[in-house]
Amino acid sequence: MGLEIVDDIREDYVYDLVKSGKREDGRGFREYRQISVERDLIKRAEGSARVKVGDTDVLVGVKLELGEPFPDTPDKGVLITNAELVPLASPGFESGPPNENSIQLARVVDRGIRGSETTDLEKLCIEEGEKVWIVFIDIHILDDNGNLMDAAALGAIASLLNIRIPNEKYGVTGENTLPIRDTPVAVTMVKIEGNILVDPNFDEENAATSKLTVISNADGTLSGMQKSGSGGLKEEEIAEMVEIGIEKAGEIRESYL
């Protein structure tokens, strides 16, 4: 309970800063935090990436298993995205079944990858109707310092780019790498006091009433979008956020993918 008061004070602090054109960590409103992407650090996973965005730390692991396709798509592999907000990552996370935040996180990352047709799911089919690759993208949050969405999405695509398909392990023949057709990148922004802030840190994310994630592809098309938070956005603000989102995604793609 005591923490709520602290939250209120921090919220006021963030608002006051933004009003005077500043951010808690000294960044400009359009400035992203330092990003780092470390690949293939989990030996047992077919692909993995640890993404740090400032102090936010997310580990994504991809596992491939053979399984049955869905009956309505017998010639396609299956993509399953899951996110766990493990209690180690934040005093606010509790163990237990996924809550709406972890479900939203996983589903938005999943939608970005699906919308851009990142992977050619037909290439993951081994025997129509019988045997396909099931790709599990598991997002493991290690340290939540705001903007999990972008870090998770970047971790997911960075992992997918370096997949080794475990053909030998399952005694099948085929390509060893996953054909990747596009690289969707998520950019999240919040609105505080009428200002658009890119890549919100933890306090900014809490203080803001509306947040928009824009996922865009290499050619500048959009492959996913999600507004969250209990506030509203104007058409012009959304247009501006889309513009910024595409631009920032381009920069991130160029440097880290």
């Binding site: 709520e4 996924p98 809550n99 709406e100 479900i103 939203q104 996983a106 589903r107 939608r111 699906r114 919308g115 851009s116 047709e117 009433t209 928009l212 592809n217 500048g220 098309t221 959009l222 492959s223 996913g224 979008m225 999600q226 507004k227 969250s228 938070g229 209990s230 506030g231 509203g232 956005l233 104007k234 058409e235 959304i238 247009a239 889309v242 513009e243 595409i246």
Partner: protein, 247 residues
Amino acid sequence: MKGEETEVELIKEGKRLDGRGFEELRHIKIDVGVLKRADGSCYFELGDNKVIAAVYGPREMHPRHAQDAKMAVVKFRYNMAPFSTDDRKRPGPDRRSIEISKVSREALDPVIMREYYPKMAIEVYAELLQSDAGTRTAGINAASVALADAGIPMRDLVSSVAVGKIDGEMVLDLNAMEDNHGEADMPVAMIARTNTITALQMDGRLTKEEFERGLKLAMGACHQIYELQRTALIERYSKSENKKEEE
């Protein structure tokens, strides 16, 4: 699902398969106050979608640790009846309905004067009885009217509709066939009086221009839906006054 090559021709001679134009809504029917026990309720039809929303509260928030000392907490439960879909839907919340519940709640939060009822809960239940794509928008429309029917202080109603891309065209209010074979789907919710967007999701693939055009199209349709919601509420309450006079 989405984003795949369209095997089905969805537009023929400039018309959609159900005969609609690109910017045409499906038929809408709104009944206010259809449930007796609920504090507020609304039945909403959008094409073949049938949804009923009920509002309970403001009442005590349980569990207590989830109370907010400064304002009421809105609880929203989007639930599909097992018989509402082609293949029976397993009862109970799944990942999709949990996400939709969150998005719908956040679509309504901005208009509800939650600060009037600290520590309380305002509970909104949207039950999908029959589905044909656009269920979340129908749910939000129904819930918004049900909240007003419950007498919850609100800044305005929220109106919601989806737009999408089929056969390369941006069209309004996709039906299930169009949603299944279309290239993109984008549900939007808006406060009509101030043109404030309170829910926005997109999946599939759109160019920036298509997105902007789609958003405009959705906003225009939200104004139409808003008028229907208002009319339904006014009708309901002018009727009950007449009844009292008769008694």
